[in-house]
């Protein structure tokens, strides 16, 4: 049986479809208390006094801690996991993010006090009994405004609210000159709006201190339990890592927001020792909107130069990136190394310069959200391409064909060296666009569109041909770029005496189906049945180490680590088999779960070898018993999936309402282990990318109040907002990992957004070339754009 390449049904689904999934909030520990966090209602204010006495006396309240208690305990704030330096080499400004604020709150939702009670209702009731006196101060929320003279300051030690400035690419003077010499320059002022990740499972954390073992257990909704343990132990609480077990059980979606180490995790751990009982905290959706790290929030000016033939001559980008009030775990990497480095796109642009200013504002922290930096890069590139095509009177597909990097496989041909540091691994870009045009029926569509316009119907088509960097990535490279952690992955393959296999992976599934995909890989490599394999993840006491799941890295990095361990199992297995079969190792071949002496019918099965390894009576001299191997895999490069997304929209001429009629996606994510799961990843990514274009957007008012703080105000795609998707794929294998895979988790989200906006721009061409389309393209905004009101 071959599993790789088959749409094997997911082994996870029985528990999830029957309500037997075990998410953090489903866990109940003996003696468990419940926490409610009192949060700032103001974006910027001095806490003049807090009176907790009445609340503390409320029946059922166990304890209340405030920022003063945290400060008195000497607890450091939550650290950044990535350091980016200023252009002049000085270190970025890194103000602390305290677990609870004692003096000055810096965004709506900043934690002020934690109330711990026998049950959640009591904790919530007691919150109404806490009195806090604030002195409200002016706030700033827009990053471009925050850097101006006189803007309210978020931190005392970050002048002009600047965390760092940064640049990448060719020397700026060369790019300026190339732009100046261009036949045509397309310029766009873009806002890549702030997004709320909104995994449907809210964050939750249970802290449990067991004094009999002097050991802590943290159950948490994390994509990244080992990193959470490392950051919490070594940087926040100063407790020994071997005394802390972090368990991320079933996790209900993450989309980036559950990568990071949050204050509540450290809070429940610390407080559980103070009160000697377990504490559960579960976020409400309202709190999630206020405190789950948001995504995107770039204010950008982008200019692209072209020669007479439409070849891109240069790209110049300047971006203000909003970090929010505090630096979240990976925040500095997102607008820099995950954004600036992707500005080559799929094009041969010879000169590129990008300038980024990372800014503090009185808003919730911004960090990686599905795609993380790459959607921002793709958005500006692809908006520029379609806009330039309109301005130059060229076909947008043709303009792309003219500028594509020629195909290279990364094996017989070298990788493609970009102007912005990265070297692409393998690529073949024309076929994805060709296939997209074929699927959409491009020529027919243009006829239909012309016909529709005669009847006053506004139909439009938009393109996006994107590339992303996934499988993040070689540790040495990311270390040089400021990462404070390595970005490898670990895997242990433990063959049990009966030949059954337990695999311990540092990747963490929160919807991606690792228990299925990884088992397919293991089953094929070992030639055994999937049923004989168990995939274990998300428990720091079981899994040696892990860097978690994000950046479409699980299969490319985590899967490769598993393959490495399997190779070791087979290598040792061959030694035992050679001994048992009385043959030389090099005379053996392994297939279908058996070692066979080549050219004979002498063979021995995997199960027999496993048993022999654990019952080593008749065994090779000098060989250790057991069949259990760990590996760490550090990739040689990022992987570079790419693809073509095409949207067809209709705009209601009366109201400005956009209806997405069709969406075509042709993605090349390298080799595919489980097509069903990969398609599912693409679908989900598309919905989020389309959601950004059409519906979603976090909005703060001038005082820093969140105007989109619930599902009643923050619009997210529902089933009837979307069509069925039309998807296909091409396969250009990754040349540098053993599975040839590139990663599929973010592709849908990266390519789709500009395609939809471009389609609306195309639909509105009867009103002129409308460049100031802002996302989300609400009916009101589109109506205003049409009428320039």
């Amino acid at each position: 049986m071959t599993y790789i390449g088959q749409s094997v049904k997911r082994v996870e689904d029985k528990r999830f479809t029957t309500g037997k999934g075990k998410y953090t909030d489903d866990i109940k520990l003996v003696g468990m208390t419940h926490a409610h966090i009192v949060r700032s209602p103001y974006a910027h204010a001095i806490i003049k006094s807090i009176d907790i006495d009445t609340a503390l006396a409320h029946p059922g309240v166990v304890a209340i801690f405030t920022g003063k208690d945290i400060a008195a305990a000497g607890i450091n704030g939550v650290p950044a996991g990535w350091q980016v330096n200023f252009k002049d080499g000085t270190t970025m400004k890194e103000p602390p993010h305290p677990l609870l604020v004692a003096d000055r709150v810096k965004h709506v939702g900043d934690g002020i006090a934690v109330i711990i009670a026998e049950d959640l209702a009591t904790a919530r009731d007691a919150a109404d009994l806490i009195e806090i006196d604030y002195e409200v101060l002016p706030a700033v929320t827009n990053p471009a405004e925050a850097v101006k003279a006189g803007a309210p300051q978020v931190h005392d030690n970050a002048p002009n609210n600047i965390c760092f400035d940064w640049e990448l690419g060719n020397p700026k003077a060369e790019v300026d000159a190339a732009i100046a010499a261009s036949h045509h320059v397309t310029r766009l002022d873009l806002v890549n709006q702030r997004m709320a990740p909104n995994a449907i499972e809210p964050r939750s954390a249970i802290g449990h201190y067991d004094d009999s073992k002097d050991k802590f257990t943290l159950y948490t909704t994390s994509q990244n339990p080992h990193l959470t343990r490392l950051l919490m132990c070594a940087f926040v609480l100063g407790i020994p890592e071997h005394k802390v077990q972090v368990i991320a059980p079933d996790v209900g979606g993450g989309f980036g927001s559950k990568i990071f180490h949050y204050i509540e995790e450290a809070l429940v751990i610390w407080a559980s020792k103070q009160i000697g009982r377990p504490i559960k905290w579960t976020s409400t959706r309202s709190e999630a909107f206020l405190t789950d790290a948001h995504g995107r929030d770039h204010v950008t000016t982008a200019e692209m130069g072209f020669d007479k033939e439409g070849k891109v001559t240069a790209l110049r980008v300047s971006t203000f990136a909003n970090l929010g009030a505090y630096i979240s775990t990976f925040a500095p990497a997102v607008p820099t190394y995950l954004h600036g480095t992707l500005l080559q796109g799929l094009y041969t642009t010879p000169k590129i310069h990008v300038d980024v200013t990372a800014v503090f504002t009185h808003t919730n922290a911004v960090d990686a959200y599905r795609g993380a930096g790459r959607p921002e890069a793709t958005y500006l590139l692809e908006r520029l391409m379609d806009t330039a095509a309109l301005e130059m009177g060229m076909d947008p597909a043709e303009l792309r064909f003219k500028n594509f990097i020629p195909a290279f496989d990364g094996v017989t041909q070298p990788g493609y060296q970009t102007q912005v540091a990265l070297q692409y691994d393998s690529g073949n870009y024309e076929p994805v666009l060709e296939r997209g045009l074929e699927m959409v029926g491009y020529e027919n569509f243009r006829k239909e569109q012309a016909e529709a316009r005669k009847n006053g119907k506004l139909l439009g088509i938009g393109f996006s041909t994107y590339i992303e960097a996934c499988g993040i990535a070689p540790s040495a490279v990311v270390g040089a770029l400021g990462a404070r952690a390595g970005l490898y992955e670990s895997a242990q393959v433990r063959v049990q005496p009966t030949g059954k296999v337990s695999v311990f992976t540092g990747s963490h599934s929160h919807g991606q189906g690792h228990e299925t995909t990884f088992a397919q890989v293991v089953a094929d490599r070992l030639g055994i049945a999937m049923e004989d394999i168990d995939i274990v993840h998300g428990d720091s006491d079981s899994v040696a180490f892990g860097m978690g799941t994000y950046g479409s890295r699980s299969l490319a990095v985590g899967g490769s680590a598993i393959v490495k361990s399997i190779d070791k199992v087979l290598e040792k297995g061959a030694k035992i088999a050679a001994h048992k079969l009385e043959a030389a190792e090099e005379d053996l071949e392994y297939a279908g779960g058996r070692w066979t002496v080549k050219g004979t019918d002498k063979s021995i099965g995997f199960g027999d070898i496993a048993l022999t390894a654990y019952v080593p009576h008749d065994y090779p001299a000098g060989l250790e018993p057991g069949l259990d191997f760990s590996s760490f895999y550090d990739p040689a490069n990022f992987t570079y999936p790419f693809g073509c997304h095409i949207a067809i929209v209709e705009v209601d001429a009366d109201t400005g309402k956009v209806t997405l009629k069709r969406f075509i996606a042709v993605d090349d994510v390298g080799n595919v282990i489980n097509p069903m799961i990969v398609d599912g990843q693409i679908h989900g990514g598309l919905a989020q990318g389309i959601g950004q274009a059409m519906l979603e957007g976090v909005a703060y008012d001038a005082e820093g109040q969140l105007m989109t703080g619930s599902f009643m105000d923050y619009a997210m795609p529902r089933a009837d907002d979307l069509p069925s998707f039309e998807i296909d794929r091409k396969v250009t294998p990754c040349p540098h990992n053993p599975l040839g895979v590139k990663g599929a988790g973010e592709a849908g989200c990266i390519g789709s957004t500009p395609a939809v906006v471009n389609a609306v721009m195309d639909a509105l061409t009867p009103f002129g070339i409308i460049k100031n389309l802002e996302m989300p393209m609400t009916p009101q905004r589109v109506w205003r754009a049409m009428h320039q009101k």
């Binding site: 109201t655 309402k657 519906l695 009643m712 619009a715 609400t778 109506w783």
Partner: protein
């Protein structure tokens, strides 16, 4: 999200509900489907001392014809109304509007009486009942009174409902033969409440529009009949030009709401667009 605590009483009859509601010194709210009240309780925007649950009072859940009226018991759910063949036959905008409220789960439980007592300016029923010329029956221990919808809806979350009173029935006059009605809604994309909801009723006979009634939800701080639109079309032929001219009168002289999704000018524009769409359905 946990409400503050309260007492809970389930009433088996209207009389029992009224006596529970009349308890002195306890701020008591009526609970029907709960889909307006419970969200407010969870956010602690409303903190009553007691709830009287009327959802199971059998005598309050019916849709039946009585002479020239269709009577709707106040605890009839949106789903009951959406599925009513009687209403579909006589005044289609009621089932049409019911099917556009919230989502299936909300429609299964939410009631027309609860919705109108709450009087959210963006809710769907108020404008529909205005355009239907409906009457609202209220009962208290002092007796029963019937108000025209016009006199029931007073303003922003405000109705003529007095303390100790319960909405028991909505009386919808059956329009004359040849009358058509519709409800057209432009939804806020997150909440799916109305940014603009336009209910329109028109009788077309002998090539002329009569009995024109047009009402809006979502446009102002309360639902309202739009007499300017009505007058502009009454007595005219149902041509596209006349409909457009009448729709152009929409929302004149009212104070128009403005929010994140629709500023005043855009909302007014939508009112015109939706008046035109609704009138085109019923008269075009």
């Amino acid at each position: 999200m946990i409400p503050a605590n309260f007492e809970y009483h389930r009433a088996g009859s209207v009389d029992e509900a009224l006596s529970l509601l009349a308890q002195p010194d306890v701020y008591t709210k009526v609970l029907s489907g709960g889909h307006s009240l419970i969200p407010a309780l969870k956010l602690r925007l409303s903190q009553p001392g007691a709830l009287v649950d009327i959802a199971r009072i059998a005598e309050l859940r019916y849709i039946r014809q009585d002479g020239n009226y269709i009577l709707i018991g106040s605890t009839s759910t949106h789903k009951d109304i959406a599925n009513s063949a009687l209403l579909a036959q006589h005044i289609a905008m009621l089932p049409e509007a019911a099917g556009l409220i919230g989502d299936p789960q909300v429609r299964n439980v939410g009631t027309i009486g609860g919705s109108i007592a709450h009087a959210d300016p963006a809710a769907d029923w108020p404008g529909v009942l205005l355009a239907a010329d409906a009457e609202i029956v209220l009962r208290s221990q002092a007796g029963s009174r019937t108000l025209a919808a016009q006199d029931f809806f007073l303003g922003f979350y405000s109705t003529a409902l007095q303390e100790g009173e319960i909405v028991t029935e909505i009386r919808v006059p059956i329009p004359a033969a040849g009358t058509k009605s519709t409800y057209q809604k432009f939804m806020q994309p997150a909440s799916r409440f109305a940014i603009v909801g336009c209910a329109a009723v028109v009788q077309v006979s002998n090539g002329t529009c009569s009995k024109v009634r047009v009402a809006f939800n979502g446009v102002a701080d309360a639902c309202f009949r739009d007499v300017n639109v009505e007058n502009a079309l009454a007595g005219k032929a149902p041509t596209a030009e006349n409909i457009a001219a009448a729709a152009a009168q929409a929302a004149q002289g009212v104070s128009i709401l403005s929010d994140h999704y629709a500023a005043e000018d855009y909302r007014k524009h939508l009112a015109e667009v939706y008046a035109k769409r609704a009138l085109t359905v019923v008269a075009g």
